[in-house]
């Protein structure tokens, strides 16, 4: 037990350090501690599951230790900026004023091809439109384009845009979700009326009905082959 516990703690810290050294590109969408936890935990669980000669405790103790450690690290990263920087790293500015920062790219092991690929994926075919590109701690690239390359917002155009509400599923595959109906401040009578206007007699004929607080609805009938009706 003690040996298993100590080995777990040592290996966890070692693998986190390894993932940090690999750089942000390897992390994907997870923080290093989350990635390491997901890497180890599945393996730990499978060993006593497959080998009946190993006591269950040999898998349970390290898993509990890992969960406790991850919880502690997660609280520490929320409380301390310095600890967060140590564990998760800091965002790196890889493009400044349209010019790639070669030093920063090398530090993050980001090649020009990878940078361009990421930018293309975000809708920027070349660097000329990009003022800043920031490699976030979770491995994603964030882009701030030059003002002239940015689509104008409704405010900049002086247009008054209508707020849309949060759409909720009211009918899913013929079943009425009463909680969502109540949250929208509607009742069965409203639902019957809404269905009647769309040519449905009962919820069982509906595949999906979405509604929001602003009164917008979206309905798809079940297996009619006509597609969605939008109002």
């Amino acid at each position: 037990m003690f040996t298993g516990l100590m080995r777990t703690l040592i290996l966890y810290i070692l693998i986190i350090a390894g993932v940090r050294l690999m750089g942000k590109r390897q992390v994907g969408e997870l923080e290093p501690s989350e990635l390491v936890l997901s890497l180890i935990i599945a393996d730990l669980a499978s060993v006593p599951m497959q080998d009946y000669g190993i006591p269950l405790l040999a898998g349970v103790v390290p898993i509990l230790a890992l969960l406790a450690l991850t919880m502690m690290l997660s609280v520490l990263t929320m409380k301390s900026v310095r600890f967060r920087a140590l564990l998760c790293g800091r965002p790196s500015v890889v493009v400044r004023e349209g010019v790639p920062d070669q030093g920063e790219m090398a530090r993050n092991r980001l090649t020009v091809d990878e940078l361009l690929e990421e930018l293309r994926g975000l809708g920027y075919p070349d660097l000329s439109a990009v003022r800043y590109a920031i490699l976030e701690t979770n491995g994603r690239l964030s882009v701030l384009p030059f003002a002239g390359e940015r689509p104008p917002t409704a405010r900049e155009l002086g247009v008054r845009a209508r707020e849309s509400g949060l759409p909720r599923v009211v009918v899913s595959d013929g079943r009425v979700l009463e909680d969502n109906l109540r949250a929208l401040g509607k009742d069965r009578a409203w639902l019957r009326e809404e269905l009647g206007r769309r040519g449905c007699r009962e919820p069982g004929e509906v595949f999906l009905l979405l509604a929001d607080e602003a009164g917008q609805t979206f309905l798809t009938k079940k297996e009619t082959g006509k597609g969605a009706e939008r109002r």
Binding site: M1, F2, T3, G4, L5, M6, R7, I10, Y52, G53, I54, P55, L56, L57, V61, L64, A65, L67, A68, L69, M71, M72, S74, V75, L76, K79
Partner: protein
């Protein structure tokens, strides 16, 4: 911060549990080993019956803690000790001094090793 302390408490509990287990495993096997050693001395003095009686008591003790050893140790190690007891008892019944001494020494070593694996030492961790 409450989540942090809850996690720290769980970790401390695991550590305390593992240290308590190390102490318990050692105490249990040291006592069994000492009694097996006494049984060997009795057999050496020709008191085979008393040696068999004492070994039988140790085996009963082992059986009483079988669940514990199966929970904390590798099953193959625990099974190896159970097999060792059988061999020792057979040699005691046959009054085969050389074979008994060898089998008993092996059993005592296995008991010591099963506890040794649980001890908080760098040798085990590394």
């Amino acid at each position: 911060m409450r989540r942090f302390w809850a996690a720290a408490a769980l970790l401390a509990l695991l550590l305390a549990g593992s240290l308590a287990n190390a102490w318990y495993a050692r105490a249990l096997t040291e006592d069994m080993g000492a009694r097996l050693d006494r049984a060997q001395a009795l057999a050496g003095a020709g008191e085979w019956e008393r040696a068999a009686q004492l070994t039988g008591q140790v085996r009963a003790d082992w059986e009483a803690h079988r669940l514990y050893f199966h929970v904390v140790a590798r099953h193959s190690d625990a099974d190896g000790i159970a097999k060792g007891f059988r061999a020792v008892e057979e040699y005691l019944a046959l009054e085969e001094a050389d074979q008994y001494n060898a089998a008993n020494a092996d059993l005592m070593a296995q008991l010591a090793l099963i506890a040794e694996m649980e001890q908080p030492s760098w040798i085990n961790v590394l």
